[in-house]
């Protein structure tokens, strides 16, 4: 079994696509209408085009808002992405106006930071410990 897709709920798919591609640097993989204005919209890392897809899923279900509000209040991220240098990525994204709720924090071999994706989610970036 493999993990080939995971998802985050987003308030607005068009806005989310812009943030996840233009700011974060992912590339669009699938964009298929699925009824109404909803799209099956996935992005992948350009470093791994055949790798795990991230589904930018419409946040229309009424359970999504209370779920995300409660997690955001406590600063809990809903997804984690790997980067080679958290501090460099923090500087790059801050320069693009991205708001961080946790600045880079070194904890032993792991460094993490948490930012707001402007679509309703907090996202953690982390250095992967050497395999």
């Amino acid at each position: 079994m493999r993990i080939h897709l995971t998802s985050v709920f987003v308030d607005d798919q068009a806005k989310a696509l812009r943030f996840y591609t233009e700011i974060l640097g992912f590339v669009k993989k699938y964009d298929v209408p699925v009824g109404g204005t909803d799209r099956w919209l996935t992005v992948v890392s350009p470093e791994e085009p055949g790798g795990t897809e991230l589904l930018l899923e419409p946040a229309g279900h009424p359970a999504v808002k209370p779920y995300r509000d409660a997690l955001a209040a406590d600063g809990i991220p809903l997804a984690q992405f790997a980067v080679s240098d958290v501090r460099a990525e923090y500087e790059r994204l801050s320069g693009l106006g991205v708001r961080f709720t946790q600045e880079p924090l070194e904890m032993g071999p792991v460094t993490t930071a948490v930012f707001d994706d402007t679509c309703g989610n907090l996202i953690q970036i982390a250095t992967q410990p050497e395999q």
Partner: protein, 100 residues
């Protein structure tokens, strides 16, 4: 008020939380939990950390503010003044010695 202060300071985990907030103000609950588990190897549940924060907040040592959708915790050392007002610390007379 003084009882709340001494009770809050009596617990080593709560003192560690204050140390971490002194190092970096404006932390979410998530960040405080990360620091306790990753830096200090303290296996405390998120709920447990929440309860410690409530005690610190009752003593006035931690203040919270909402910014956007997140709640941030700040250190407030002002209540500690009660201690030196109650038991004054004499001014050093000679040249100040560096603390060891």
């Amino acid at each position: 008020m003084a009882d709340d202060l001494f009770k809050a300071l009596a617990d080593p985990t709560r003192r560690t939380i204050l140390d971490e907030l002194a190092e970096q103000s404006g932390q979410t609950l998530f960040e405080i939990c990360s620091r306790l588990s990753m830096k200090h190897r303290l296996g405390i549940s998120r709920q447990g950390v929440s309860q410690h924060l409530a005690v610190l907040e009752a003593a006035g040592l931690v203040e919270t503010r909402r910014e956007g959708r997140c709640k941030f915790h700040d250190l407030n050392t002002a209540p500690l003044r009660q201690i030196t007002e109650r038991w004054p610390v004499p001014d050093p007379s000679g040249p100040e010695e560096s603390p060891s």
